[in-house]
């Protein structure tokens, strides 16, 4: 029976992927932009999920890694014409290094839970002000990537081109992140992480190297997030420390995953869809009734309702509804 359900999950997933792959044939640029927003949100949510959902380490400063990746990719491209995929390696390395510093300091000095979250915020804010004063990356004037001229062909290597190209890039990234998360969970490290998440002391007593495994989660999560940052830089073409490192971004980044279901594989995707759909709907509505701020209030209410009614998120509940049992995710 279990195999059948497994198959049903696979079929559903493949179907979803096929629909998304064909979407540019039917959707206009505007709809594609929205789909890009959804996929980027899902991708970043998955990256955050590795650290929080899998290993139980609460980060409230993930905008830090988004910004580091974006600035590494963007600045190298602007100054040296470095292709983003090479810049991404630099960005991921820097992010992983910064993650390593935060992780080492935090875990070694036993800064835990909410204190750890505050430590991550402090690092993100610290970096924001630092970048505001760093001339090489444009300081507070921002860093600006020259957009591709009108009508130029898509260049995947330099990430200059049409909305459709960006759509396929982020679709590929999200699919890869999904596959990668799944692979992580099925390996030994996935089980170690869950053990640590549920009870760190017990995991320690069982002989799991808690520090090492937590560090791995931080490094992977930081590197994944910064790759999303590179994408963001090349899609948006302009970067400002004020917006890219803001706590607001950190919050929005995790919101989808919390609503979809922390620690689940599909939660970040579901959450991103729900949030973006809600956001678009309310923007339309807001434009009609002329009230600003409705969107954020709705996000807040949504978060509160989820925490009160379904603290595990929407996906575990929906999964049960759809009778997709599988391996529990």
């Amino acid at each position: 029976m279990s195999a059948l359900f497994q198959d049903r999950r696979a079929v559903l997933l493949l179907g979803l992927l096929a629909i998304l792959a064909l979407a540019p044939l039917a959707a206009g640029d505007y709809l594609l932009s929205i789909l890009i927003t959804v996929l980027l949100q899902a991708y970043l949510g998955m990256s955050w999920n590795v650290m929080m959902g899998f290993a139980g380490q609460f980060s409230l400063g993930h905008a830090l890694y988004v910004g580091l990746g974006a600035y590494a990719g963007g600045a190298l491209f602007v100054h040296y014409g470095t292709p983003p995929w090479i810049g991404a390696i630099a960005g991921m390395a820097v992010s992983a290094a910064v993650g390593a510093v935060i992780g080492t300091l935090g875990f070694r000095f036993k800064v835990m839970g909410v204190y750890f979250a505050l430590l991550t915020i402090a690092f993100a804010e610290f970096t924001r002000v630092l970048f505001d004063h760093w001339g090489w990356v444009g300081a507070s004037s921002g860093l600006f990537l020259p957009p591709a001229p009108n009508n130029s062909p898509d260049n995947l290597w330099l990430l200059r081109g049409s909305t459709t190209m960006f759509y396929y890039v982020i679709l590929g990234m999200t699919a890869a992140a999904f596959w990668f998360s799944r692979a992580l969970l099925m390996r030994r490290i996935g089980y170690y992480w869950q053990a640590i998440r549920e009870d760190q002391d017990a995991a320690d007593a069982l002989g799991i190297d808690v520090f090492r495994n937590k560090m791995i989660a931080v490094l992977i999560s930081a590197a994944m997030t910064s790759l999303g940052g590179v994408f963001l830089a090349f899609f948006n073409n302009n970067l400002y420390p004020e917006s890219i490192f803001s706590m607001h971004r950190s919050i929005e980044l995790m919101l989808g995953t919390i609503i979809g279901g922390i620690g689940t594989l599909f939660g970040p995707i579901l959450g991103a869809v729900v949030l973006t759909a809600l956001g678009e709907l309310l923007t339309e509505l807001g434009a009609h009734i002329g009230i600003d701020g409705v969107k954020q209030i709705a996000y807040g209410i949504c978060l509160m309702l989820i925490l009160v009614l379904k603290p595990g998120g929407l996906w575990p509940w929906l999964r049960k509804l759809l009778r997709l049992e599988g391996d529990g995710r």
Binding site: V129, I251, I297, M304
Partner: protein, 289 residues
């Protein structure tokens, strides 16, 4: 840059720091008693500032006399919030609690945004442009008033915890909630009162801060972070620590503004926070956990 210049800067930092301290007291009281980290702290402060703003513009009540009113109002808000929402979340994991308050914060900020709009509001008192001159020292009048009032409120709070029955009961709850239940204390009610006191402190601080800064909805997250920096510096849960942390942050902002660059001063505060978190996570005056 002569000595009087530094005297001026230091005195301004000290005075502002006292008001910061009062704001952080609220956060500290709540955490000290029920281990809840109030992430909607800055948002409640902004609500208090708008309340004081309305009282002044509509009824002509100046912020200092308005302080008991606003603090009282915020007490009720805090009491109800604890009773009907947060109380159900005392036993869940830390991060869920944290996220719950984050959702409260998001709702408050944006409701304020909807009601008052995004522009900064300020009030004009006769004293707004006045200052005391003592030799070379120029002391901003409203800053002096705000600082002394903040000190007074802090003293009242200390007396409350020290000398009243309720205050003692709350301290008992903080030290040993199970024991408190055993001797028949109504822990739920005491928790709600504590939360109310915490938000009332924020309300008082909001009134005083309105004398010093213009209010706009996006101040909230800044003040939440600032509040955290202060209490972590001084020690979460320690009343004296919150005041000390406030003064330290006020001073460090002022001095780093002078010695490095004003636009870098918030980086300095965050740097301080990182250092304290690593070197003395329980804070300067905090007890070892």
């Amino acid at each position: 840059m002569d000595a009087t210049f530094f005297m001026n800067v230091i005195s301004a930092g000290l005075l502002t720091g006292l008001v910061y301290g009062l704001m952080a007291l609220g956060l500290s009281v709540i955490f000290g008693v029920m281990r809840v980290v109030n992430f909607a702290h800055g948002d409640m402060m902004v609500v208090a500032m708008y309340a004081a703003f309305l009282l002044f513009t509509k009824l002509g009540i100046e912020p200092v006399p308005a302080l008991p009113l606003v603090a009282g109002g915020l007490f009720v808000v805090g009491y109800l919030l604890q009773r009907f929402l947060i109380n159900h979340f005392l036993e869940v994991t830390e991060h869920i609690q944290f996220l719950l308050l984050l959702s409260v914060a998001m709702i408050i900020t944006n409701v304020v945004l909807m009601v008052f709009g995004p522009d900064a509001r300020n009030i004009q008192l006769d004293a707004s442009f006045e200052s005391y001159s003592l030799g070379g020292l120029v002391l901003d009048k409203v800053r002096v008033i705000a600082a002394f009032t903040a000190g007074g409120v802090a003293l009242l709070l200390w007396a409350f915890f020290r000398y009243t029955t309720t205050g003692t009961a709350i301290r008992a709850c903080a030290d040993n909630p199970v024991g408190a239940r055993v001797v028949g204390l109504d822990v739920e009610k005491l928790y709600a009162i504590t939360f109310g006191i915490g938000t009332a402190c924020v309300g008082a601080a909001g009134c005083l801060l309105l004398l010093l800064v213009d209010v706009h909805p996006h101040l909230s997250s800044d003040y939440t972070l600032l509040g955290f920096i202060i209490v972590i510096l001084g020690g979460l849960g320690s009343l004296g620590g919150a005041l000390l942390g406030g003064i330290l942050v006020g001073l460090s902002e002022a001095l780093s503004g002078v010695l490095i660059a004003p636009s870098l001063k918030s980086m300095f505060s965050f740097g301080l926070l990182i250092l304290v978190l690593l070197l003395r996570p329980q804070g300067i005056l905090g007890k070892k956990p």
